[in-house]
Symmetry: C2
Amino acid sequence: MRTDSGPAEDLLIELNRDAGVSLHRQIETSIRASIQAGRLRAGASLPPTRTLAAGLGVSRGVVVEAYQQLVAEGYLASRSGGYTQVAASMPPATAGAGAATSTACPAARSAGSSAGSSAGLSAGLSAGFRVDFGYGRTDVSQFPRAAWLRSVRTVLTTTPNDRFAYLDGRGVPELHSALCDYLNRVRATSSVPGNVVICNGYGQGISLLIQVLVRRGATRIALEDPSSNDDARVLAGAAGLDVVGIPVGPDGVQVDALHRADADAVVLTPSHQWPTGGVLPAAARAEVIRWAKSRDAIVVEDDYDAEYRYDRSPVGAMQGLAPDHVVYCGTASKTLAPGLRLGWLVVPPHLVADVAAAKVLADRGSPVIDQLTFADFLARGEFDRHLRRMRPVYRRRRDALLDALRTHLPDLEPAGVAAGQHVVAWLPPDLDEAAVVTAAARHGLGIHGVGPYRIAGTGPGGLIFGYAILGESAIAEGVALLAAAIREVRGP
Amino acid sequence: MRTDSGPAEDLLIELNRDAGVSLHRQIETSIRASIQAGRLRAGASLPPTRTLAAGLGVSRGVVVEAYQQLVAEGYLASRSGGYTQVAASMPPATAGAGAATSTACPAARSAGSSAGSSAGLSAGLSAGFRVDFGYGRTDVSQFPRAAWLRSVRTVLTTTPNDRFAYLDGRGVPELHSALCDYLNRVRATSSVPGNVVICNGYGQGISLLIQVLVRRGATRIALEDPSSNDDARVLAGAAGLDVVGIPVGPDGVQVDALHRADADAVVLTPSHQWPTGGVLPAAARAEVIRWAKSRDAIVVEDDYDAEYRYDRSPVGAMQGLAPDHVVYCGTASKTLAPGLRLGWLVVPPHLVADVAAAKVLADRGSPVIDQLTFADFLARGEFDRHLRRMRPVYRRRRDALLDALRTHLPDLEPAGVAAGQHVVAWLPPDLDEAAVVTAAARHGLGIHGVGPYRIAGTGPGGLIFGYAILGESAIAEGVALLAAAIREVRGP
């Protein structure tokens, strides 16, 4: 199965047993970096896991775990006979592809993000709910105020004056660098500081992108169906783009439908489909990228909450697979606070100037003190620390939700992976979604159905449970209220 | 000359000699508030200055000064025989007109603001200038870092959690209130918190307004000629609006031309025309407002640098005269730092919802920590303190510039009032503006001509001197370089 593409057995992997980073993660990082840098080319075979493990002096399971992660991300492909190759879809090294190093932990932002946000917010503000499962809400009571203030103090005492003047539209260089370090390490992106544009949250980011796409002649944009029903959908409509929905299955978007969509761009939430919670598999990622390359289309990767994966490391960002065709979108709204209005785009090199110009015209750049503060906060490791603190908090809330559903509503079917700040649960066929939502409200429970987020598709009824700001007892109470509402709908 | 419109002699004015506010200012504030609240109606005569002075136990000059200020602002009109009346153009009380109280000091933001900003910035970045008169630059080395940090600390230790979640598009209530207090006091606006929209600087503010105007059917916008050549001009063109220039004279825009323009809106810099420096007189203000009312048009008042008036109190904002027809635009870019990207609109009640919706679609609201910090900074009096500190700094720089011009280039003719952060000086007819700018660059001097900022009009050549970030010796050196350049242009 070896090809001529590259001597993968010469793979240079240096392990550092004192690095505080797991060995499988170090192996994974080395291989991914080699692929991104073009040192390992499409079709190159990797050493058998047993061979590489022996060579490195680690157990075979460590290598298997590293390979599996890279297969899931689309960098590697498994072949019959137990061989593993660099995926055929992998490009040679691209402009802007530095040696990405991915080491630790999960990373985040919510597609329900701003999307979810406003609907979730309005639900949250509706009077009279005893419990509110409105989605898109981050637990801002956990905002790391003291650490943030320390970073503000550093910024205000050390930043050179010229950072407070007008800057170009992309943002402050300190944050470009800090984000590249973070995203390449945690989200396996392939980003360089020159390709980063800071914006006021994902909401502004997608607005700028749609403006740029329209100006470059785009006429049709594909969105996941279901997906957030503000942001991209509203903006694309207002900009005169045709919007076409691509059906979503348990594993995210169905790529065959994308091929028929005749679209110039697609907006995806591949790490955690919003709202249904699936993860786009490696083969589908590769297929989406082939699609984008074949028609010179743009993939917008809304990586809204990838920092929160509870059962394993999150799958790396698609952007790392094709930095010339994918715009990566991140946000601090799910990890820190929506009120920061802090988001970032990693933009293919040929679009950076256009996106920056759109940003200048929109508002001449984002406020600098927050940008500099976040750069310091990232560089100090405070962001990683905050995420380490928050993950178990949200995971406990998710577990409490699933436990309560199992107990009180065993015929609801929770979907998606263990991640994020919300869960969709499908309703059994006898229950009408709208009737359940209405009855829930009568019982003092705020909750959204999946239906309003569908574009053209139909499908089973479902409910979106936002659990991020609810304590475990409130979650249990909410599910009990829902169970009472459903009993009422079903009647005697 | 008395009319039936109102018993102006019953005018209730209470003076507080311990208030730390000058008596003429207290009188002016009381009368303005009475007019805005509808207690004094159009045509009502005011007491003769001598009578009012005797009644209040103050010298006649104090009353004269108060009346003159209100005449300049368009609230009062002088009649033959020494009578003073409430101006015929004054409306009855309007929605959103609280009891405005105007007490102290001048207020600021630069029409050259963002406008000027980018050109000024680019000039500032051009390599190799020994001195750079690029405009639109604020002295950010004077940014009050310690006081700002104190306000950030207060915000991060006292603000309720919910302020860090998604909010509506208008911004945080704390800043709406603090700005209304400030603007009603210092800029004589008639604003209420519910009409304020916080945005990312004037650049975003005018972008949102143009979007709203277009959506409401506007097809043609009038701009001052000359005026800033980015912002409104670029945005209006991109939005498909016809742009028509209204010639500017020594006293600002020429209103007769506005009548012929058939426009749905006009953008003005009435407190300090950018770039020529005139102040729009009371009669012209009243005429602009009559124009707006007669065709239901919108006046956008770009109050970019009104905080910096050096010879007298600044003329109050036009918005106070007609809050239903004027959108007031303010910014922190000239007073604190452009990098804050902090601006505010006071919007006529019937447009508030549309502007807020445009803001939500653009970016879901401005970042909250800066907003809360600025609210605290205003409420503590730190903003007034900062302005008191900066006014003499800029005035000295302006004086140094005018001194140097008088000495080295007596045939240049400085224009405009003693205000702001830039001066235009007209060139004598024998000097070609472009030739002077080019020769100046050869001599190591960065400076912009007025020509590029003209829309359709022609007029004398002129130079724009931005002096805000230059020390007095650099200013003198710059003028000497310019003199050398002009000698070269004139030849032997």
